[in-house]
Symmetry: C2
Subunit: 266 residues, 2 copies
DNA sequence: CGGGTCCTTGACAGATTTCAAGACGTGTGG
DNA sequence: CCACACGTCTTGAAATCTGTCAAGGACCCG
C-alpha cells in the first residue's frame, strides 16, 4: 500500500542506508551511540556502546512532535526528509528548516521544557530517538560527547544567524540560489548527487522558509532555468552552473553600507 | 574626561546597579556565581560562591571581541548596551542583536572554537567574563547550572527563530513596532521605564537588525509618531499605545495562507 | 563656530506581493 | 480504466512596498 521507499526517486550516488525492498518494511530499529555520532559526523573516541537508541518510522505528513508538547527527546534523522515549522499568532505556518539525514532536531525544546515548533515528515522517515536526560548522563562521563552536544547546538545557532542575514540582506534571486546550493551541498554530504535532486517540499514551503511567496519562488526558478543556470521540471532540479549560483547576489538593501568599523579599538 | 555613566540619561525607575558618582570610575570588579545567575534571572540553588568572575569595562565603540578570535569566554552584561554584528562576504555589517543587562553573549563561539561575530559597546559597559572551561566544570557538579547553560543557549535559539519569522513574514511597520515593544519589555525587565527610553543604536543599526534601510526605519517611526502611537525625537522614544504596537500587523506576504495543516496526524 | 554623524523628508525606480486564470500531476472512486 | 477533484506549479498584469538617490536640518564634539 505504501511505497517501498520514498527516497527511491532520489538520484542516489551511493546508498549507505539500504532499505529492504522485500515486502514488509524491514528497517533498523536501534543505533548505538557511536553510530549516531558517525551519522552526525562528530568525532568521538571510544563511545560507550552499551547505550542504544530507538528508531521510529514516520510516513509523509505525520508529525514527529507538536508545539507545546513536553520536551524530553532530541531526534536525529536516519533517513528521509522533514520540515520544522513554527506557527505565528495568526495561525500561519512558518517553515524554519528542512532536516535531513544526520541532522538533529528538537533542540528548541531544551529551553522551557516544551517544544516551540513542530516537525513534519515530508517523506517516509526513520528518526532516532535520543532522550535528553540520557544524553546529559553520557555527557558527564564523556567530554567528547558533551563537546559534541554544545557543538550541535552552536551550529544550529550559527545556521540561524546566517538565515537572518540572508533574508534580511539579499534579494529573492540570491536567496533562492543559495537555497539550491545549500541543498546541493547537503545532498552531497549524505551521499546523493549534488547536481541533480528532487525537491521534497512545495514552492509554498520554500517560500515560507525564504521569506518569499510561492509565486516569486516559482518565477525565480523559471528565470534560472531560462538563463541555463539550472533545469527545473516540477520537483526535479538539475544544477548546471553551481559557481554562478553561489556567486549570484542582487542587493536590494544597503549598497553604500561600507564598513563603519575601525573607529575605536580595544 | 568621560561621562560618569552612559546610562544616566536612561529614564530609570529603579537603580539596581549604582555607579559611583564621585570622580574616578569605581565599579564592581568581581561577581560570584550566584550573582551572575541572579543577573541572568536563572534560578540556582546553593551555588558555589568561591568562584568569582572578573568584570571588564568598555567605552562606546570598543570591541569586546572580533570575528575569528579564538573562543574561550562567554560574557554577561552587567550594565550598558552593546551590539553584536556579523560581516557578510561583501564586507557589510549585519546587526544580529543588542545585548543589554543580564544578556549573555559569545555563545556563537562555542561551535568551531572561534567567534563568528563581533560585539561592540554602544555605551560605556561593564561585562562579566566567564571562562567556558570554568563553566563546564561547575556544570558537572551542579545540575542547576548545567540546566541554566542549556537554557541560555536554547533561549538564544528561539529568539533567533522569532527573528527569522518576523523578518520573513512581516512588513516594515510591524517589524519596527515589534522591535520597539521588544525593547520596551527588556527595559522593564532590567528596571527601566517601559514607556520612555533612549534608543542607543542608530537608525542604520536598527535597519540592519530588522532587514530594512535606515530611511524606512526613520519613516516608519515618523508615521507612528503622526498616528500618535509613539513620540519620537531623535533617540528619545515614548510609547503611547503599546497595545496597538503589539497588535499592528500589515502582511506583505501570505494572506490566504490558511493552515494547510490537519492533513495527517501522528 | 566648523566638521562630522545622524536624522528626516521627498521623488522616483524597482522588486515583490497580490490577484487571477490556466496547465499539470496525482490519487480516488466509479 | 477513465473521469473527476484537488493540490501544485506556472505565468500574466496591476498594486504596493521598500529601496535608492538626494538635499536639508539637527545634534554633538572639539
Amino acid at each position: 500500500m505504501f511505497t517501498t521507499s520514498t527516497t527511491s526517486d532520489q538520484f542516489a550516488v551511493s546508498r549507505s542506508a539500504p532499505l529492504a525492498s522485500t515486502g514488509a518494511r524491514q528497517t533498523k530499529l536501534w543505533s548505538s551511540l557511536s553510530e549516531v555520532c558517525q551519522l552526525m559526523q562528530v568525532p568521538v573516541s571510544h563511545a560507550d556502546d552499551t547505550v542504544r537508541f530507538q528508531h521510529v518510522q514516520f510516513r509523509a505528513g505525520q508529525r514527529i512532535y507538536t508545539i507545546g508538547q513536553p520536551f524530553d527527546m532530541l531526534y536525529v534523522v536516519y533517513s528521509g526528509f522533514l520540515k520544522t515549522v513554527a506557527i505565528d499568532e495568526s495561525g500561519n505556518e512558518l517553515v524554519l528548516g528542512f532536516p535531513m539525514k544526520g541532522d538533529m532536531f528538537g533542540i528548541d525544546g531544551i529551553h522551557g521544557k516544551a517544544y516551540t515548533s513542530e516537525v513534519v515528515a515530508l517523506s517516509t522517515c526513520d528518526v532516532i530517538l535520543i532522550p535528553f536526560k540520557t544524553l546529559l548522563t553520557i555527557g558527564k562521563a564523556s567530554p567528547d560527547v558533551e563537546q559534541a552536544m554544545w557543538g550541535a547546538m552552536g551550529r544550529e545557532l550559527i545556521r540561524e544567524q546566517r538565515m537572518i542575514s540572508s533574508i534580511g540582506s539579499l534579494g529573492a534571486e540570491a536567496r533562492v540560489a543559495r537555497f539550491l546550493m545549500s541543498l546541493s551541498d547537503r545532498f552531497a554530504e549524505i551521499g546523493f548527487s549534488s547536481k541533480q535532486f528532487n525537491l521534497r517540499m512545495t514552492r509554498q514551503e520554500i517560500g515560507s522558509y525564504l521569506g518569499l511567496t510561492l509565486e516569486t519562488v516559482s518565477r525565480t526558478l523559471s528565470a534560472f532555468n531560462a538563463l541555463g543556470l539550472i533545469s527545473v521540471e516540477q520537483k526535479t532540479v538539475t544544477i548546471h552552473e553551481p559557481d554562478s549560483l553561489k556567486t549570484l547576489r542582487r542587493l536590494p538593501p544597503s549598497k553604500h553600507a561600507a564598513r563603519s568599523a575601525a573607529k575605536l579599538a580595544a
